[in-house]
Symmetry: C2
Subunit: 416 residues, 2 copies
């Protein structure tokens, strides 16, 4: 089966938002063995939408559309597909009930245009939307399938993984199983270099690297007649990758560095606290993204002003005067200080310069110190995170937070 992705929305077409849906869908389809040969974007214009759909259907078995399912007059995707296939629209009662219940639950008046979202081409398979109002749907006619999915990624992505993937698997008789190896502290090309021969000599499972916000993920995918057989193919490959790459592998299917850190805290029964300067809450925000973090996270202090570093965290004025706030010494005293203040088992700290302004030859933009401190383990790292690009403030902050979470994980793993 080959597929085309057709994203509908003037805001995509004008570049007001970046098309992450196309990449998400392409990767998800590849993972279940469906080839994508074309992606297209078209605005909320009925004539051009119809033409694009005609072209897509002329060259693909499966057309995956996103967007244009909303309540407003310029949301036309369903009507265009119904028209193309000669299907009348009919009210889908369960969807209407879900939408009505949604508005009751959030205590908002349901305007009449919202009913439009419950009208479906006759015979469509409906996918409930657990994260918004517009349901998704599949329309099949002969050999052709058109999927219509909501535009917002937060609604589309879970619908795709929970509803669409099982639906599409009915059309295939092999099982694809994937595991993801999470790597921090080695770049994509270095990972590829170390695994190149291995990757070329392994066709099932396949090993595909993805770089993502300073991390590398390896997606290991096996194809087999059933899940058990696929798993038997995958397990030795995961062990080989761990052996070849060593310590930079921080987990398998573990999601994120913050999740690995929180799970390790829970496993060990330890508590953490953070003292942040340049990241200003990003580390504590990432730790507490994980549900149940309140069991293992005590508190955080964002000490943007030096006075706060001294008064609340107890960094000595002499250290600040002698070494400045961007120094190994300050990072160390911040980590010790937050641990003492909070009574946590492990203190994490970060101080540095995210830019764009304020850099000097001695303390350039991107210079960051991080520290993890706990019983029997204390380590400071000096990081140089600037790549000399424009607008890299958020990249520097995100990377600094990632390094600190990885260092925290190392500290935790050293504890009993």
């Amino acid at each position: 089966m080959n597929a085309e992705i057709l994203c509908v929305g003037t805001e995509l077409l004008l570049g007001d938002i970046i098309n992450t849906n196309a990449a998400y869908i392409a990767r998800s389809l590849a993972a279940i063995g469906i080839n994508v040969y074309h992606q297209s974007v078209v605005g909320d214009n009925p004539e051009r939408l119809k033409q694009s759909l005609d072209i897509a259907l002329s060259r693909a078995d499966l057309v995956v559309m996103t967007g244009g399912l909303g309540p407003t007059y310029d949301d036309l995707t369903k009507e265009t597909v119904a028209d193309k296939f000669g299907l009348p629209m009919e009210l889908h009662q369960p969807s209407l009930e879900r939408i009505t219940a949604y508005f009751q639950r959030v205590n908002r008046v349901m305007t009449s245009n919202n009913e439009k979202q419950a009208w479906m081409p006759k015979g469509a398979k409906v996918f409930p939307n657990n994260y918004g109002t517009a349901p998704g749907l599949a329309v099949q006619q002969g050999e052709k399938i058109v999927l219509l999915l909501p535009g917002p990624p937060k609604e589309m992505e879970p619908m795709f993984s929970e509803e669409v993937v099982p639906y599409l698997k009915n059309f295939s008789n092999t099982v694809l199983l994937s595991h993801t190896v999470h790597i921090f502290g080695m770049g994509e090309s270095a990972v590829e270099d170390k695994l190149k021969d291995y990757m070329l000599s392994h066709l099932n499972p396949t090993v595909a690297p993805y770089a993502k916000q300073g991390e590398v993920q390896l997606r290991v995918t096996a194809s087999a007649c059933d899940e058990e057989a696929a798993n038997k193919l995958i397990q030795p490959v995961l062990a080989d990758i761990r052996r070849i790459l060593g310590n930079v592998v921080y987990g398998i299917d573990v999601g994120t560095l913050q999740n690995a850190f929180v799970q390790e805290l829970k496993r060990k029964g330890k508590k953490a606290a953070t003292a942040e300067s340049c990241t200003a809450g990003l580390v504590s925000k990432r730790i507490t993204e994980i549900s149940g973090a309140s069991q293992v996270f005590e508190c955080g202090v964002v000490s943007y002003a030096n006075r706060i570093k001294a008064e609340i965290l107890g960094v000595s004025q002499q250290t600040l005067d002698t070494y400045t706030e961007i120094s190994e010494q300050t990072a160390r005293e911040m980590a010790r200080g937050i641990r003492k203040l909070s009574g946590a088992d492990i203190g994490l700290s970060v101080t540095g310069l995210a830019g764009p302004d304020g850099g000097t030859p001695e303390k350039p933009v991107g210079l960051v110190y991080i520290c993890a401190s706990c019983d029997g383990f204390e380590k400071v790292q000096e990081l140089h995170l600037s790549r000399g690009r424009r607008n890299e403030r958020e990249d520097i902050r995100y990377l600094a937070a990632s390094h600190l979470l990885a260092l925290g994980l190392e500290a935790l793993r050293s504890m009993n």
Copy 2:
């Protein structure tokens, strides 16, 4: 002039990388009055590339292609365009010299396949590449123009702004000007409901709504012979929108709530500090995203544990015992406490339950209290942010932070 964007690359097609080029080019073209009606992505496959180019040329005056200009055998874009227009390829001597000089400068051996990058369809206008090896080019034939640009964004973007925009301005005699109205506290359908008649009766400027993470943006775009005339068309529409929507409009072209808040702090010469429980650093992280926030942001305390709320922020134990940590009273004492601790002019606080666990009938998931406290202004708001969806923890936290920034803005605007 209308345009189509055609991005070439298997890594885009498979979703290994997200297509930021299409959004960048679309925005840049819109800014100079060129309409984009279609975007497409195709892999490094000669047959499908040729077909996609045929389709694009059949419906657009200008086709902007990215990718496939590199030195390897599967880089085919130039050859495909030359073939389509019946043009022979010839060596472009200045490009060969630039490429040779580039390899000398970075002290790397120039392999023979790199010469391929200096071969151009006869008569092409060449755009030098200041950030890599592959030059860009424009081929014009009759009414049709094809632009070929390198795929890596850090090469393509500066080439586009420095070389392509001046080239394209020769072909246009209208100017498009856009302003964005930022709205918080009213949903997209309610905004549309209030503005529907107005939007339908205004074709120039156009008014288009976009929903984005709990906010609504209205893009107001005028087309005219020059910037001044376009601005004259836009200004009364902006005033009308402010009048129709009222206080929910928090700014024009202001980017984000955190930017509006930081700019207002700077304008007033005031400093802020935050005390966060359920958002756990997200508010301080968002405030400090803005470059220069260090002038106006003092410190933040993430008081996840109740003990920290009492010991560091000075919330009274009686308040915590009587009303619990999720209460109007606790939010108020947190805001006053952080203001006192930091010496800031305005204290912002948030406490609530982001879930998914821990909800009770009295204190359900999504119940959040926020407070802004400064001289002459103190206000607590009770928020109900759950939409009953799965995985909404991050949504609740993000919305709570947005509400607090909006309340902070209200507080600041009340100050002299």
